[in-house]
């Protein structure tokens, strides 16, 4: 196993990236930027997975990360297609345009 302090650093980086992504998702109004932040959350989790995999010498973590990357990519294409459609309806990328679902 690698040294403990290195694992914590990697986990910290992963956590920070996740949190930045989370906060970004919750505060930004631009749909594309919100999606960017969700991708950022994915990567944060991926870093954590790789770090654990390296620490325990178990390649399962890294294999899972390959899956995550593939899924993130396919999901990105879907999401951007949706965003384009949403843009065509309201002619804006502002998330607030879809607040009709309130109440």
């Amino acid at each position: 196993m690698s040294e403990l302090s290195f694992l914590q650093h990697y986990l910290a980086v992963g956590a920070i990236m996740f949190c930045i992504g989370l906060i970004g998702f919750m505060t930004r109004r631009n749909l594309i930027v919100m999606f960017l932040c969700t991708e950022l959350m994915f990567q944060g989790v991926a870093i954590n997975l790789v770090a654990f995999s390296q620490y325990y010498g178990n390649f399962g973590g890294q294999a899972f990360v390959i899956f995550v990357l593939v899924i993130a990519a396919s999901e990105a294409s879907l999401a951007l297609a949706l965003v384009v459609l949403l843009f065509r309806h309201r002619n804006t990328l502002d998330a607030d345009a879809w607040k009709e679902l309130k109440g």
Binding site: L22, F25, M26, M34, A95, K99, L101, K102, G103
Partner: protein, 751 residues
């Protein structure tokens, strides 16, 4: 008596009228219609035949049991005889609550309040003795006569089937009342006759006054029934049973025998209050002060109803109850005096009111209240024999009087005001004779039945205290006077009939367009004074159309209505001789275990040597009839009739002058002492106000408000959720998800 077929099959007696009622009720409207009387005639007739057969069989048994002479003492002879002359017949267990194995004997009466092993049991069963047989014959016999009369009287009515169905129901309930072998069967019948009374008084339900009268009767009765119910509960608490005699007379398991036995201190305490509670029920049902106000209003019902229910049978249930449950009453001298005092007061009060009543039926209604007062004085003065004897004779002559009023009412097209009719002996000859017999009986005229029965009561009253006797004698005088005031006004004197038909009392006849021209057809008390001449001049159209609302020549006295009247008249004439000169009735009744028990207790409480005669018990020295009292009461009755003759036949204006002269007294009497108004102000209006308070304030604001509050709370919470969590704001939803996950993780990691 136990082995008699009728006793073993006694369920037929109440059930046949009930089945008749069911048939009339279910099939009367569409199919039977004007023939709806047949099921009732058959049912009540069968019950009457069975009751009379039972009477004869009982008489036979009573004769047998007196045959073995010898060295028995009077008491053991009587008790030997009585065990042959009583029977308990249970059909099924109606109510059974608690542990049947718990010890409910005389040695260990169970107190419900402290003992979890107590057992409340009510058997649906009948008790037969001489008292039951007498009451049954009165109820079914007179009931049958009245059903015959009603078929003629109610002919053509829309609700013909309804009337007979209710009548059958009434007979069923009344039979349960008199035959029941425990207080709950009595109460069943008690409430049931109250219901039937309500249904029948409200027969003409389209008339608002009839509806009000029906409600009033039921509610006032209810007040009495409340006291009665409490009394029954107290009986159970004190003695652990509500049955009169248990499975057999002599087993000392029933109320009436336990009450005469050894009593523990709490039992004696209860036994002080039980009579007061029970007598409230009797006062309500039998229209004594202060619960008499429903009876005059009950005259809204059809006349046969007034005859049967409010004269002959239902209202006598109170007297029957006190006679039956005598052992529960006699230990409490105060209670007996209360009963006698209330009876006397009511008798006098009602008699004075009757003096200035002008409606035929109302006079008889107040008369009934008054005569019931006499019966209560009798039982209160420790003479149930006189009370039941008067009950029987009164049933005959009062039913006769009411039915005769019905005939008059029919002939006068619904008019009942005495002031508007006169000299009817020309129009209704048979009725004239029978009503004269009835009036003599009511007035206690010598040689008629009422004389003997009333005399017995007055004798007992004097025996208790001279003041009761004196007041009753005065009341008897008033009774004779107002009775013959009615007779002389309506049946004697110049012929006067109402000029135009009165608004129909629900008749099938159509109002006639004839109207006599003569103004003087309307009578006030200032009619021409000359006594008995026909006075043709003032009433022209007598010979062509009777001048009252019928078309064509109509027989006012059809045989279907006259035959019952004649039979009742025979009873009113001769029933008195059942107890004079030989005291057969008293002896027969005295064989009832109820009376024997009551006598036993009364003797030990009162140490009065004359008590035996009052209870119909065999006695060592026969007291004989009180000839002096008979002479006095006979003279008083004759005097009353004479006064009525003077004031209402010889010189009719005299009555009016006397009434005006006694101004304030007349005003009080005509206002009926404002009892109804007092009730209205002190009871009815406060209750109405209370009801309004609950309906319009508490119900509307508080109850509905609470419900509204519950609804508002749901809405408000939803609104809150809507405002906070459903903004349509995508990131907001993400934040909620995050919040949820954080909470879950916290819970997991910090469990």
């Amino acid at each position: 008596m136990q082995e008699l077929w009728i006793v073993q099959h006694s369920w037929l007696i109440p059930l046949l009228p009930l089945i008749g009622a069911a048939i009339a009720g279910l099939f009367g409207a569409k199919f039977l219609r004007q023939q709806s009387h047949w099921p009732i005639w058959l049912g009540v007739g069968a019950a009457a035949v069975m009751s009379l057969t039972l009477l004869f069989q009982t008489l036979h048994l009573a004769g047998e049991s007196e045959a073995p002479a010898g060295n028995h003492t009077a008491m053991s002879e009587a008790s030997e005889g009585s065990s042959k002359l009583s029977a308990v017949k249970d059909f099924f267990t109606w109510v059974s609550v608690g542990d049947p194995a718990s010890n409910n004997t005389a040695d260990h009466p169970q107190d419900v309040l402290g003992n979890p092993g107590a057992h409340f049991e009510v058997k649906a069963g009948f008790f037969f003795d001489t008292l039951t047989v007498i009451m049954l014959c009165v109820v079914t016999g007179i009931g049958f006569l009245i059903t015959v009369f009603s078929a003629g009287y109610m002919h053509g009515e829309e609700g013909y089937w309804r009337f007979f169905a209710y009548l059958g129901l009434f007979i069923f309930m009344m039979c349960c009342l008199v035959m029941g072998n425990n207080l709950i069967m009595l109460y069943l019948g008690w409430e049931g006759v109250g219901l039937s009374s309500y249904l029948l008084i409200g027969y003409y339900y389209e008339k608002p006054s009839a509806r009000e009268a029906a409600k009033k009767a039921f509610l006032v009765n209810r007040v009495g029934d409340f006291g009665f119910g409490i009394g029954i509960m107290l009986c159970f608490v004190a003695f652990g049973t509500v049955s009169y005699f248990g499975p057999q007379v002599g087993s000392h398991t029933g109320l009436l025998e336990l009450a005469g036995g050894h009593l523990s201190a709490p039992q004696q305490h209860y036994l002080y209050w039980i009579p007061f509670c029970l007598m409230l029920g009797a006062f309500g049902k039998s229209a004594q002060f202060p619960l008499y106000v429903w009876l005059p209003d009950a005259m809204e019902g059809p006349t046969p109803v007034s005859a049967l229910i409010h004269a002959a049978t239902m209202v006598t249930a109170g007297v029957y109850m006190i006679a039956r449950c005598g052992p529960l009453f006699v230990q409490n001298g105060t209670a007996m005096t209360t009963i006698a005092a209330v009876g006397t007061f009511t008798a006098l009060l009602a008699a004075t009111i009757a003096l200035r009543q002008f409606d035929l039926k109302k006079v008889f209604a107040y008369s009934t209240i008054s005569q019931l007062g006499f019966m209560f004085v009798a039982v209160g003065a420790l003479c149930p024999v006189a009370g039941v004897f008067h009950l029987m004779t009164h049933a005959f002559f009062k039913a006769l009087l009411f039915l005769s009023s019905g005939v008059v009412m029919h002939a006068m097209a619904g008019e009942l005001d005495m002031r508007k009719m006169s000299g009817l002996h020309r129009v209704l000859p048979i009725t004239n004779i029978v009503i004269l017999i009835g009036c003599f009986a009511l007035a206690g005229f010598p040689l008629f039945s009422g004389f003997f029965s009333k005399d017995d009561i007055v004798g007992a009253a004097f025996h208790k205290h001279w003041i009761f006797g004196a007041l009753l004698l005065f009341t008897a005088f008033l009774t004779a006077y107002y009775t013959f005031r009615l007779y002389f006004r309506v049946f004697q004197g110049p012929l006067v009939v109402p000029e135009a038909p009165a608004p129909a009392h629900g008749h099938g006849h159509e109002p006639d367009e004839h109207a006599t021209a003569s103004q003087s057809a309307i009578e006030t008390h200032t009619a021409p004074a000359s006594g008995v001449d026909v006075g043709q001049a003032q009433h022209a159209p007598l010979h062509d159309d009777h001048g009252h609302g019928h078309d064509g020549d109509h027989n006012h006295e059809p045989m279907i209505m006259m035959l019952p009247l004649i039979i009742l008249a025979i009873g009113a004439l001769f029933a008195g001789y059942l107890n004079f000169p030989g005291e057969w009735f008293a002896e027969f009744l005295g064989k009832s275990p109820s009376l024997q028990q009551t006598f036993k207790i009364a003797e030990s409480v009162n140490h009065d040597p004359h008590l035996a005669a009052l209870f119909g018990q065999p006695e060592t020295s026969h007291a004989g009839h009180n000839w002096m009292l008979m002479l006095i009461s006979g003279l008083i009755s004759i005097a009353g009739v004479g006064l009525a003759y003077v004031m209402h036949l010889r010189d009719r204006a005299l009555a009016d002058r006397v009434a005006r002269g006694l101004g304030p007294i007349t005003w009080a009497i005509e206002g009926k002492y404002w009892v109804d108004q007092i009730y209205q102000g002190t009871v009815v209006e406060p209750l109405r106000l209370f009801g309004k308070l609950f309906a319009f304030v508490i119900d509307r604001f508080i109850v509905d408000g609470l419900i509204g509050l519950a609804a508002y709370a749901s809405w408000a919470w939803g609104y809150f959720l809507k405002l906070t969590f459903q903004r349509g704001y995508l990131q907001g939803y993400a934040a909620s998800m995050l919040l949820g996950i954080a909470i879950i993780l916290l819970v997991i990691f910090f469990r």
